[in-house]
Symmetry: C2
Subunit: 196 residues, 2 copies
DNA sequence: GTCTATAGATTGATAGAC
DNA sequence: GTCTATCAATCTATAGAC
């Protein structure tokens, strides 16, 4: 049973892509760490692009789920908070993959253009829903800014002097994003109530 | 007088670095656009790294000025707003350079490590001042998040459906960043009053 | 499945004529 | 200051033996 090797390769690739950047990571480097030769990598993944996609796609799926759900979700403040929380959780659960996009978006865009366009499209849908129906340009911009806030979950480690628990970071960033969206703080409700 | 050629090269490099990413841009590409050969580029800039630094450094200086000023600036809400506004203006005035850091931070970090470390250090100083004296980890995190908000000035073009004037975008993002910092909205005051 | 060997392309950089 | 020509390194990817 050799999904093992495939998985090891993917894990090593994820680590190197996310720390050094996609472009800065060569297949030679990955092969060395795994303990194989470059040629053997190609037995498991047909190209560097295929390897990148294998590493990134699972997260894209999680992202897509959220975007799809918003299609039928009423734009209430409780729901907005829930959607933002889900986005944040996807980010926190997939720090490494998110780091790939953050560290070398240009490289990813070039080698996986279609995947990149998918991500942009998903983001657009999410931002549009977050901004709310008939949102003004200013409100749309606030929606984009709110999602940027979540990115601090990834970068904060570089800047903070003291440690902060993941739970607290999550709470702080969720509140901050809601502040940007100008949605008043509420407990994370489970029900949903129609509004528009 | 041939600062002309030097400047043209720098301008072309800026455009390509910021749109395609630093690593994705080859000297051959730059040379072609300028109308020179690669070899001639090397007469004006001793390396690709030197070219990158020439492109980026002016902005780093503007950034450093802000960080330096905070050293002797009282942490009042009016001053916080003013500092954030200055950061935002540097960003808006140098969208292209900022785009280099945003599109390929990994590539920049590798080829211009010292410059990159300088940027990190400046950012740390700014974040620290923004968070305020004796800030809790949560407040520090909010300071990082507030600066992330400003980054929306660069990315928004990709996502917004309708146009938004630069002036309005500036106003919206400044307010949003202040919301993240939890500093109440005030007019941009010129005086400063001691608070802590 | 893993290996050796190598093709084929591109890159940053240099030498030296003009 | 600009050119032609070229080097040396590195990379992705493939062919074919074992």
């Amino acid at each position: 049973m050799d999904g093992d090797t495939r998985d090891t390769i993917r894990a090593v690739a994820l680590e190197l892509f996310s720390t050094r950047g996609f472009d800065q990571t060569s297949l030679r480097e990955i092969a060395e760490r795994v303990g194989l030769t470059k040629a053997s990598l190609y037995y498991h993944y047909s190209s560097k692009q295929a390897l990148l996609i294998a590493v990134v796609e699972p997260v894209l799926t999680g992202w897509r789920d959220i975007a799809d759900d918003t299609a039928t979700l009423a734009h209430t403040s409780a729901n907005v908070r829930q959607v933002v929380a889900r986005c944040l959780d996807v980010l926190l659960r997939n720090r490494a993959v998110a780091g790939i996009f953050q560290r070398d978006p240009a490289g990813v865009a070039v080698v996986a253009g279609a995947l990149w366009e998918d991500m942009l499209e998903l983001s657009r849908r999410l931002y549009t829903w977050l901004a709310g129906p008939a949102a003004s340009p200013a409100e749309q911009l606030r929606a984009v800014a709110a999602m940027e806030v979540l990115g601090a979950a990834l970068t904060s480690g570089t800047y903070l002097k003291e440690e902060i628990s993941e739970a607290e970071a999550r709470a702080v960033l969720l509140d901050a994003a809601m502040d940007v969206l100008r949605v008043s703080a509420e407990p994370e409700a489970s029900g949903m109530r129609k509004s528009g």
